[in-house]
Symmetry: D2
Subunit: 304 residues, 4 copies
């Protein structure tokens, strides 16, 4: 694991929709992206689950990719979620990402028809071969319908040279360590499950894939700084304040919760696309309280 | 359950791809569709899982819908699979289906983000309201990621007037009866699991959703005729001969197996789209033997 | 929902094993139970997942039930987890619970062979009929292998008079409200998912099923007091401090984490039974820091 | 893969219960076991899912093990299902099996609390070390709650010398070949999914784990003989006749269906234990027709 192209706080923007037309609001997306970079995100990752990529048309997908990457303008690395049911669709998105200057791509083993071992390997090999970009395998059984345990991930990575990163969201916190050990450190591990952020860093994860910086960027960054700077006490204190918020946004669904939070902050984001519905009023009030609490808290300077 | 708009053998065409370009081969699709109608299918159902709808671009989806429905030309009813992750995408497809003259639409509760009860209801209500067509709810946990048990299905149907049909593919054969009883017969039940075709009819299913007529249409039709005509012995005999084939096409995946069979029969279909790979040679040989066996068998006149 | 027999903080003891012999340590269990009552738990619930009931022999199960209930001695209500794969086994445990004076029983739809709707109903009806105790249905798809959505739960409850309580651990926080509304308030709802404790109370849950009082009882009780006493700010502040700990014990598995915590506190508990392994050293150190933090924190008087 | 201790038709007896008392009927079990041996089964496998081991008390489990193995009396090899949630319980059963002279043991990765990679390995290692018997890992996600894909299975087997066999019931027929290839032939593969019996043999499986010989032993044996003797046409013909029956017993659940069949054949078996209910009357009539059909069919001499 020489030097992974991504580490630290990898910020996942939501995709804003215009409240009236329902169309992607690229101007709002650009502003949000700029905010994420300006706040100090170590990387920006458009078109993940948070970005509602499942609900976008292909032309919208391309526009979101282009706008985000142009706004980032290589000031920090970018990781683009290119998963699609078909290999062709995944390859197409990977190339769009590459053409727009992405640093790396992320691929979920998204299955409609269950895949054989050969098909799974071929899919990853084809996507990996379509660009020169390093590829992050994203294991999230709840979303993809298939659980790739550490041995399977490591076996795949041995056959596919640019599969060098793994994002783990299965909920089994012991896998961060297991993947590193099974791969003799060849695979860099990332955490995709917000509430275990600190656990993951302490178990060797090099990055945290999170939508939380859309609302409270300093908190994620300070958590990372404390965790990697050896200030365990501060890391614990930050986590304690941040965790109810992380738990809340995961529990109610990232697009629902982050968009409600942006509205609270008077930033345009619109509503999630149906079938997702906006966060109900009562929960929005609670989110407001959480955000007020975090912004006023002396532990982290929210204006930094 | 006055008079459901669909019953009997509901034939699911695969979507042919050109072997060289990989593009949808509309001429081959039209020929296959014509074959299905000419053979006596009671209905034709494009764009199901069998039709690899998950792997199509939207423009391809529309073209497949239009070509299939124009070819059928209302000689028999049509059922169009319009499932999509977003409500907007599902509604769009439902309208394309309606505009092309579909008899009914089929909707899987396809979840990317897990849906609340309210979101699930809103999704079905929105899709149902988008057209005048009757709607078939398709329960297939293996594909959709969520299992809607009979009580949930019946509760949804009570709130959505044109949700009048349910396709069950959970594998629990006792549900055919359970859904009818729980809904006091208001819901018509269809079977989507090939190997339990006869069981389903005997448990009150009014239709069989099957890709088998792409290769051996007379067998499915004769099974239905025997099952509904009270000739149990003949139904059993037909099932005995047909079942290894049904088991095989399900076991290896319908797009893989049906396309291999069409090539054996010298009909154009191309290969499945990756990540699916063609049926391996050894399995293709076995399929050939099965098809030879069925076409030569005296029990069913394959040339009828 | 006149007056449910259980509400508030329902404390789940682990089952201590002797470090040398591996046998159930009833003396340690009695001390732990006494601690839970003395600390002010509103109810005690032996033999849940936390109690490693899956790993106990039947004679051990009976002994744990008897010891716990005798120790509680009706000072607070008790809820006994009696789930077993067979109806007979569940009934047997329900009767042992009743004989020992349990207030209520909890039953997971634990499936080895998948159950039909009729079998599920018969199972619950048989267990409910075996005693006069009120019954709590426990929905936890991750453990039971089946997800009973709100409509199914409510339909079951309508047929079984003493099925009056539901414990929801599916992770979908919107279900607390959905179950109450669908049942017109006839069903009392309980939360089994520690990290959403406050969310659940705010969504109408009347009780919180939690192992956390084994280690930090005052924190759970004060959270409940603040949440039901209308002191939202205090509830939020308590949750903020408590949540990293709740997240940790859930993430590493309750038996692993609670037993490690008891050892840190110099209370006998032994190790979890294999296949579970003790919490690793590094994680145990972190747990120690968390416990130190909570016990020294001015927000909650840990000595109360 | 020198010479696996088991091959061919591995017959799974149900566990008979007395119709009046509901207790295990050891005399009936002995008669059924004798029938299985007399009919030519290549091995006998008590206490699988078919044997309702999940619904037995431990003393019943031991009695079933002892009676079955004493009846077989080493005339053919035996494979005992020893799975249990706890390692201790699994080891105990493994030792009972060894003491009674079992040839091999079968272990499902039965999870109550999800297991880490380390716990999974330790569990198998402990069970394997408890006896000298060869161990068969049984992958059946529908029952165990966890899917061990081929790489994981092969990785486990590399660390545990007597883990030399794998029974695959995930439904993915391509895995028979995948496991053999990934293990360079070191692992012998068995099929646990009745309807794909012939597919499995043709993909390299050396044995078929099946309850069908309880009712129609000659059919399974002749299928194996034809499949391994190179008589493909006969194998296909046998499968055609047998498959509706195999599909039926799997679709309605093996204990329900096999017990109904034994009653049809005037052999004592009693009913399945609740929560399982007996096969309904209408389905029992159909089973009778299937059995009549098979017993009168000229293809296989049922009296051999």
């Amino acid at each position: 694991m020489a030097n992974p192209p991504l580490k630290g706080v990898i910020s996942y923007p939501i995709t804003p929709f215009d409240t009236v037309t329902g169309e992607v609001d690229l101007a709002a997306l650009s502003r949000l992206t700029e905010d994420l970079v300006a706040a100090g995100s170590h990387a920006v990752a458009p078109l993940g689950s948070t970005g509602e990529s499942a609900y976008l048309r292909e032309d919208e997908w391309d526009a979101v990719c282009e706008t985000t990457l142009q706004t980032v303008a290589k000031r920090v690395p970018t990781l683009v979620g290119v998963s699609h049911w078909s290999t062709e669709g995944t390859v197409r998105r990977a190339r769009v990402a590459a053409r727009n200057g992405a640093t790396a791509i992320m691929v979920l083993p998204q299955v409609y028809w269950q895949l054989t071992e050969a098909e799974l390997e071929r899919h990853y090999a084809a996507v990996a071969a379509a660009t020169d970009l390093p590829l992050m395998l994203y294991n999230n059984p709840g979303t993809s319908g298939v659980d790739l345990r550490p041995e399977t991930v490591v076996a795949l990575a041995r056959k596919i040279p640019n599969l060098t990163m793994v994002k783990e969201s299965s909920g089994d916190v012991a896998r961060f360590r297991a993947i590193r050990e099974l791969s003799d450190g060849a695979l860099s591990v990332y955490n995709g499950n917000n509430p275990v952020a600190l656990e993951a860093f302490r178990s060797g994860a090099v990055g945290w894939c999170t939508a939380s910086p859309c609302l409270v960027p300093r908190w994620a960054l300070e958590l990372y700084a404390a965790a990697t700077g050896g200030d365990d006490e501060r890391a614990d204190a930050i986590l304690a304040e941040l965790l109810p918020f992380l738990q809340f946004i995961v529990g109610y669904g990232l697009p629902r919760a982050i968009k409600a939070g942006l509205q609270i902050q008077d930033r345009e984001a619109g509503y999630p696309r149906t079938p997702l519905l906006p966060l109900p009023d009562k929960e929005t009030e609670r989110l407001q309280e959480m955000l007020d609490h975090l912004s006023a808290h002396p532990l982290v300077d929210s204006t930094a």
